[in-house]
């Protein structure tokens, strides 16, 4: 490519491309991305991830596949023998399945946060990392959906739940938040898939132009004949923005509705007004923590050091800390409103959580969710990938415990004393299926990263281009 310069700076990285030595590294440490990366280099680096990942990719994939097999085996066992093997019985009829369902729904909010909210406020540092966050959204929702079926137990009668006129005289109760859940999750899942797909069309075209063999045909179909014309870009820009605008209230409504599953019941400990915002904050929190985990994994596995840079990780960590504090605040609001409220039963349930058989997990949840994030205020720790990996995993463990602590202790110590069962602990079948869900998610995610560019090439080009222009304007000024 001939390099034409404006005031001595190449317009889209004609030279110095791909260089990561010398002074460039010092600059890269300070900036979200180097402005002198050539566009062709961006294509090459990202497309390479579809061909030759590090061995760690296959190790992670094999690990996820093994977890998935454990889950499948446990589900087959539960299917054959009956739901009794899960250990669930009155009063705890939801167990880990619904707790993990909420966890996965929460995880899905990260994509919306990075793709939609940060897109609307023009935070361009999101560009190298939003694609995999969107994929997380889609796969988290698909994983969450599995738990509805697993929880039902009798899979062969799943059609009972479908709304169609029939002679059984059964029909979904439209006033139940559970039905709103189904509608909201379906809307969120299908909209997220469309958002992910539409946003990836220009990148599919890049893949098509550089692929051969079966991949050529595959990307050709996915790119729909995209040629980057002004007509296509013009409409793409508006469509993407409009879908982003739809996704934000949708994401908020989805987790508010999931919170309503609890808050609209009469169970002590659940009947709390602040549950919907508390759930939404928790969802964003766990989603951000998961983004950090996957950020570090992808950065290493696909050699994305140029794109998933430490300054971007730093911004993500700071965002996570801010959301962690919102979650902590809402948690304290919940505790204090129960503590100082007139509902003696709800107060007793809270005391039971803190001192009863689940106290270890409850305190662990509070520690991991509210104290551990303080590690993120230290810049040196935010720049340490090992520490960040450990912290992000701990945060997600805390958020998973939060969901479990919402479900099980409340059932174990409900309104009527004769329903109490403080000895409930999930069986190995439940644990196996929960682990399997992580395997299923991991497997889908790894497959996605091998088939779809996990870094948005055209958006990174835009980022580089606009930053270079800004630099030129600054220099001229």
């Amino acid at each position: 490519m001939n390099s034409v310069t404006i005031d001595g700076v190449p317009p889209h990285g004609g030279h110095g491309a791909g260089s990561s030595t010398g002074g460039g590294v010092t600059q890269a440490r300070e900036k979200d991305i180097r402005e002198d990366i050539a566009w062709a280099q961006i294509n090459r680096d990202v497309l390479k991830s579809l061909d030759r990942p590090r061995a760690s990719y296959w190790i992670l994939f094999a690990f996820a596949f093994c977890l998935f097999l454990v889950g499948v085996a446990c589900e087959i066992y539960q299917y054959n023998v009956g739901l009794g093997v899960s250990g669930m019985n009155n009063p705890d009829v939801w167990g880990l399945y619904i707790a993990t369902f909420i966890f996965w729904i929460g995880m899905s909010h990260s994509g919306t946060l990075l793709s939609a909210i940060l897109h609307i406020i023009h935070a361009d540092w999101r560009k190298p990392i939003y694609r995999f966050a969107e994929a997380m959204t889609t796969f988290s929702l698909m994983t969450a959906g599995l738990f509805v079926a697993v929880h039902l137990g009798r899979l062969w009668q799943i059609y009972y739940a479908l709304p169609y006129p029939n002679e059984r005289w059964t029909w979904p109760n439209f006033q139940s938040p559970l039905l709103w859940d189904a509608m909201a999750i379906f809307t969120y899942l299908s909209s997220s898939i469309l958002f992910l797909y539409v946003g990836a069309i220009p990148d599919f075209a890049i893949c098509r132009d550089n692929a051969s063999g079966w991949r050529k045909g595959f990307y050709d179909k996915l790119s729909l004949g995209w040629m980057g014309t002004d007509r296509q870009w013009r409409n793409f820009r508006v469509a993407y923005l409009v879908i982003a605008c739809f996704l934000i209230p949708l994401a908020v409504s989805v987790h508010s509705i999931v919170a309503s599953d609890f808050a609209m019941s009469q169970q002590p400990g659940w009947h709390i007004t602040s549950f919907p915002p508390y759930f939404v904050a928790g969802a964003l929190y766990s989603g951000c923590a998961a983004i950090i985990t996957l950020f570090i994994m992808l950065r290493h596995t696909f050699r994305f050091e140029e794109y998933m840079t430490l300054p971007i990780l730093d911004k993500t960590a700071r965002l996570t800390f801010a959301i962690a504090m919102v979650w902590t605040y809402l948690n304290l609001i919940e505790y204090s409103s129960v503590w100082y409220g007139a509902d003696a039963v709800a107060k007793e349930t809270l005391i039971q959580r803190a001192t009863g058989p689940y106290a270890v997990y409850w305190w662990a949840m509070n520690f991991l969710g509210s104290v551990v994030p303080f590690a993120l205020i230290f810049k040196r720790l935010r720049a340490n990938l090992t520490v960040m990996m450990i912290v992000s995993l701990l945060l997600n463990l805390g958020m998973w415990l939060e969901r479990w602590m919402i479900v099980t202790p409340t059932f174990a110590h409900g309104y009527e004393p004769w329903t109490w069962n403080h000895s409930f602990f999930p069986s190995w079948v439940q644990w196996g299926i929960v682990l399997g869900s992580f395997g299923w998610f991991g497997m889908l995610f790894m497959l996605f990263c091998k088939l779809v560019p996990s870094v948005s090439m055209y958006e990174v080009k835009e980022m580089v281009f606009h930053r270079k222009l800004a630099k030129l304007h600054t220099r001229e000024a």
Partner: protein, 176 residues
């Protein structure tokens, strides 16, 4: 006279923009400005503005989709409740508005998103066959293409303008 297409590839937006400006100022006879197209690896509204105001009808699709989704959603749920719902209501309304609002809200978003995507595909002319017009894979990498469709004489003039602005390569074809 044969109608032809010409695609010039430029190294950056400035050159492409300069070529477009000159093309516009040249007032070439037989050149319909709607037949001038930019092909680029990223969107660039400033350069696109040289082409003039071109329609973006997506918001209309969005409005129609959201209204259709919301209204059909409410009507569908209300119809189902009124006709098929067999649970005893104990004096409560058969069509309760607050819970139906939640479902209507979700359907509004669902309709809005689906029809927006449909509108995008229609407005952007997708899916399309790659063989139907000139294309160069460098466009998806780092070069900016300017494509013009006109008669042979006009295309010759366009070629001169492209060359004046240091075009990297030129492709031409006869439109069948």
């Amino acid at each position: 006279m044969n109608v032809k297409r010409i695609l010039g590839l430029f190294d950056d937006f400035d050159q492409a923009s300069a070529a477009l400006h000159e093309l516009r100022n040249a007032n070439l006879p037989h050149l319909d400005w709607n037949d001038v197209t930019i092909k680029s690896p990223i969107e660039h509204p400033d350069v696109e503005s040289v082409l003039g105001v071109r329609p973006i009808p997506i918001r209309k699709y969005t409005l129609v989709g959201a209204l259709l989704g919301g209204s059909l959603g409410f009507l569908g749920i209300a119809t189902a409740q009124g006709n098929f719902f067999s649970q005893l209501k104990g004096g409560k309304p058969i069509i309760p508005l607050p819970p139906d609002f939640v479902l209507t809200y979700e359907m509004l978003i669902l309709g809005g998103v689906y029809i927006t995507v449909l509108g995008f595909l229609i407005a952007a002319g997708l899916p399309t066959r790659m063989k139907s017009e000139l294309y160069n894979t460098a466009v998806s990498e780092d070069q900016i293409g300017v494509m013009v469709k006109s008669n042979a004489h006009c295309i010759a003039e366009v070629r001169k303008i492209f060359e004046k602005h240091r075009v990297l390569s030129i492709q031409e074809e006869v439109v069948k």
